[in-house]
């Protein structure tokens, strides 16, 4: 029996918990705790530890999905989380450009810990004020080789698609080596 993991990271409130919840076969276990920082009062609960979801692949293989907390003061977790992961997903809230810089910072930090494949998702594409993908790619200064994928985290098919894209990327990088 083997276990592998995929990490879902991204700024505060970008939709990480929602994403894992949509596809996990178990209820996502997460610690939502009230936070009090003024700047973070967009919603009244945030993930302080992390989310934990799973998909049983077959009798011998289980995939775990871990969602990181969305705040910088939890940086120390990334190193531990990044160990032994297949790849990671950076969630960005398309409607909150003020978080793009943070997304970039997270992306860079995570990459430094783990040189593993990743994709970036432009989440909350269903919102009216969501940015277009091209504009986001530009704002996030993403390399053209990196996939930037539209997403609506509460839509299972959308989440499936992102996971598959990440897996294709992982395969492709294996081929390239």
């Amino acid at each position: 029996m083997q276990t592998v993991k995929i990490v879902v990271t991204g700024p505060f409130s970008s939709g990480k918990t929602e994403f894992i919840q949509s596809i996990s076969e178990i209820d996502v276990v997460s610690t939502e705790r009230k936070i009090s920082l003024e700047s973070e009062k967009i919603k009244n609960a945030t993930t302080v530890a992390m989310d934990f979801g799973r998909i049983t692949i077959d009798k011998e293989l289980v995939l775990y999905m871990f969602g990181t907390p969305g705040q910088r003061r939890f940086d120390f977790m990334w190193e531990i989380l990044s160990e032994g992961m297949l790849g990671f997903i950076v969630m960005v809230d398309s409607a909150r450009p003020e978080t793009f810089r943070e997304a970039r910072y997270i992306l860079e930090t995570f990459r430094a810990y783990a040189p593993t494949p990743y994709v970036v998702t432009a989440n909350k594409q269903d919102l009216d004020d969501a940015w277009d993908l091209e504009d986001m790619r530009f704002a996030l200064r993403l390399d053209p080789k990196i996939k930037l994928l539209p997403c609506v985290a509460h839509d299972k098919n959308s989440v499936k698609k992102i996971l598959l894209e990440l897996l294709y990327t992982i395969l492709a990088e294996m081929e390239a080596k």
Binding site: V48, F52, S82, T116, K156, L164
Partner: protein, 271 residues
Amino acid sequence: MALKGNLRDFTITQLLNLVNLACKTGTLVVEGPADVAKITFREGKLIYAQLDHLDNSLAGILRRSKKISSRQYSILSERAANMNDKELGILLINAGYLSQFDIIESLQQYFVGIVRQLFTWVEGVFHFEVNSLQPFDKIPVRMDLENLIIEGSRQLREWEQLQQEIPSLDMSLKFSDRPGINIRNVNLSVEEWRVVYYVNPKNTMRQIAKATKLNDLEIRRIVYSLLQAGLVEVIRPREQTVTTQPRAFPKTNKPEQKSLINRIIDRIRAI
């Protein structure tokens, strides 16, 4: 003979029992690794308790027991800053904010909470200061010790059982390989989460406890519940390897890796 010693030789429950039977008056001071607790008794009854690192003021206690709001708390901390607990209590009662019952109830809950916390301390030294009472400005209550002693002995039994279940903290944890059926409804507490997140064959339970600031009893209790939920397994610690570049696929070759990814792809497509 001075009543002092080590918690390893004498448990809190035994101490309470002694205070109760001998109808002692005085303050039991317990110095644990992380905090100092002071529990005051009068003629064998609990009248006061405090933990040095907590806000033991009446306003703080009332806020934590939700008898006053955070807003009221900040107003009080500002306007009644030089009032002591007794004066503040009288003010709150006279102003019709709270009844005497509310205040006493909050204090009792708070003091019992501290004693309960003490039950989890396995390490520390104690001494009993005969006839020393609570600080003069603090409001004393009066509570029988019997129920607490019963609770304490129950905990002691739990502690002994946990030590049998998890004899050594020098073992590590790993996520369970078998997809447990009972995992579906796991609902983890904040503490459990903190432990889950350090689960790794390289970290011993002792290291996890240290990192999460849990004591020996607490870590065992949490690990035990995670074991029960089928989430983790106890294993021998893996050699600490310092890797700067963590590998995504330990001990697998390329065709195997590909087949693994393809299996995941097939499964996700089918969802």
